[in-house]
């Protein structure tokens, strides 16, 4: 077990003019479960592969514990990786797949067998040990890939979207299995995903990347409550936060009929900008009766009923322009399509960003 440190690690692909991972600074504690999340092409997989030794590090360094592994080959890094498509060896049985790394390391046969059987027991694979990967279901293959990683008891687990090839239901159950397995083994884990539910539910901390740049690292809750910039605000949360550009007025910003107050000192950060971006999560709207002064009128376009609650996708007029807005509503009071509802943001749950992306509100 060990910590992992990215120290200004940079990767520029040959022929590319911009780095895919740009001076990544990240400290992952011993035994921590860190989730790297971001849209496709953001550099999250590249960051993971740099740690694995599958991509060169052009600048900066990567350390596992105190060891500088920046230029070590993968086999000398004491890591194990779970691939998106599992990358099982098709010509080997499940047991051989799981024990391959130990066999190479020269572990004697009896020990190897015991370790493989232990791992198989944890993952419920005992009865499949003599099968080839071809004869397994997707979920079982995924578990074999996990087994191959845990048999080695490495210092760091790397997981590259290990659940994206599973069906929705299996994904949810495997998600919790992986999280609890990681807690039990206490092995430092770096987990790459584009699925923010995975990011929010599995990790001790979440790191959001965009265009090769680290946007924010924080505990899931903290990130949800206080996104550091526009990108994180829009990326974390499903459905996404409503982000609306509104004009500045004296002492705050005007959103519909209501004025959201902003601290003068914070506002100063925006410089002499005339507009800012207000962010309000769908669940932070209150429905008010029509006719009130404060409410924003939203015309309902689509209603999604999820059972527990419903989401209204509507349009509203902000400074003379149509804006799309998502509002969470109670599951028993779902409005009809075409109806107009009036909503006000819950006072303390608004976020204000400069149009350049920087967070203004505290």
């Amino acid at each position: 077990m060990a910590s992992v440190t990215y120290d200004k690690a940079t990767r520029v692909y040959p022929g590319a003019d911009k780095p895919s991972v740009d001076a990544l600074d990240l400290e992952i504690g011993d035994g921590e479960f860190l989730v790297l999340v971001g849209p496709s092409g953001c550099g999250k997989s590249t960051s993971l592969r740099m740690l694995a030794g599958l991509e060169d590090v052009n600048q900066g360094a990567i350390r596992i514990g105190d060891r500088d592994v920046t230029h070590l080959p993968p086999k000398d890094r004491d890591i194990a990786m779970v691939f998106q498509n599992y990358a099982l060896y098709p010509h080997m049985t499940v047991a051989e797949n799981m024990g391959f790394a130990l066999k190479i390391a020269g572990v004697n046969k009896a020990d190897l067998r015991t370790k493989v059987e232990e791992a198989a027991k944890i993952l419920d694979l005992t009865e499949f040990l003599d099968r080839k990967p071809k004869a397994l279901s997707g979920g079982q293959r995924q578990r074999v890939a996990m087994g191959r990683a845990i048999v080695r008891q490495p210092q760091v687990f790397l997981m590259d979207e290990p659940l994206s090839n599973l069906d929705a239901k299996l994904r949810v159950s495997t998600r919790t299995q992986i999280a609890s397995l990681q807690r039990r083994l206490g092995i430092t884990t770096v987990y790459v995903t584009h699925d923010q539910t995975e990011a929010m539910t599995m990790g001790d901390r979440v790191a959001v990347l965009d265009k090769g740049l680290l946007q924010q690292v924080d505990a899931p809750r903290a990130m949800y409550d206080r996104p550091a910039n526009l990108f994180v605000a829009g990326f974390i949360g499903s459905p996404a936060m409503n982000l609306v550009e509104v004009p500045l007025v004296d002492g705050g910003v005007k959103f519909g009929g209501s004025v959201i107050n902003i601290d003068r000192a914070d506002l100063a950060k925006a410089g002499d900008a005339k507009t800012v971006v207000v962010g309000i999560r769908p669940e932070h709207f209150q429905i008010v009766p029509a006719g009130g002064l404060e409410g924003v009128a939203v015309t309902v376009n689509v209603v999604e009923e999820l059972g527990a609650d419903g989401f209204v996708y509507g349009t509203t007029q902000v400074s003379g322009q149509d804006k799309d807005i998502v509002v969470r509503v109670h599951s028993r009071e779902i409005p009809q399509r075409g109806e107009t509802i009036h909503v006000v943001p819950v006072g303390t749950e608004t976020h204000v960003f400069a149009t350049t992306g920087e967070r203004l509100s505290r």
């Binding site: 030794g53 080959p73 086999k75 691939f83 998106q84 060896y89 790394a101 190479i104 390391a105 080695r152």
Partner: protein
Amino acid sequence: MSTNTDATTGIPAQRGGDDKPRRPGKEQRFADGGGVLNVFSHGFLALWALLIIGPLIWIVLGSFKNNTEIGSSAWSWPSHWSFDAFGRAWQKGIGDFFVNTLIVLAGSLTLTMLLGAMAAYVLARYEFRGNRVIYYFFVAGAMFPVYLALVPLFFMVKNLGDVIPWLGLNQYVGLILVYTAYSLPFTVFFLYSFFRSLPSAVHEAAMIDGCSHSRAFFQVMVPMAKSGLISVFIFNVLGQWNQYLLPLTLMQQQSGSDPDHSMLAQGLMNLAQQSGYASDFPGLFAGMTIAMLPVLVVYLSFQRQVQAGLTSATLK
């Protein structure tokens, strides 16, 4: 007896015998094409099969007949079944030619497959300067007709033999190297695309599991490429077994005391020419049958893998 003889006989037979539609999509497509096209193409294939199988049967039957019977009618049945002709052919040197061919092929096929697979793998999997140049160099080799190279090749091997005797003319090792060089372009070309089609994550997994480059190649990638390796192996067996021109040029006895290292095809030709008027046609036919059998056996036993290898490399 040519390379594609045996390869093509298998195909119509396979089509006809394959009742179970293993790939419904494909069967569907053929069905959509309309009955007329089907009848036409199957008819054509059947005719082709007949044209190829006919002479083969004629040769096999001929080896049981006697000279008169062969001379009278091609369609007659041998009057009595005896293996005398086979014995005579064997004594006349077919046995030696057979062994010579086996020795050379054992060496050249091992080398071709080993070097070809390694070269193709490195070219397909590793990025380095000159990668493309080397690849195209190999591929260009496949476009170069061997006839053009014959004379220079002869002098090259001859001169090499002056320096290192066991690499010269009428030497097993000399011919093994030439066969290997002759087969490498296609082998590399074919296996290159095959290795490309294999998932790279498996190779990465092997590297993370602690494999060295060579172990990843031999223990992970080669087993995964098995069907492709078998296909190209069969092609090389067929091609090298039936090779006539190269041994004719390079495996001539250099002096009276020089041992006869003739290959099968070449030896058969010599037999036919030397016999002159006192020709022993049944013996010749028996020799041809002997020469043809191993190729048929090899092809028929690996037929399924050949098709698997071909489709997985090309249909992806």
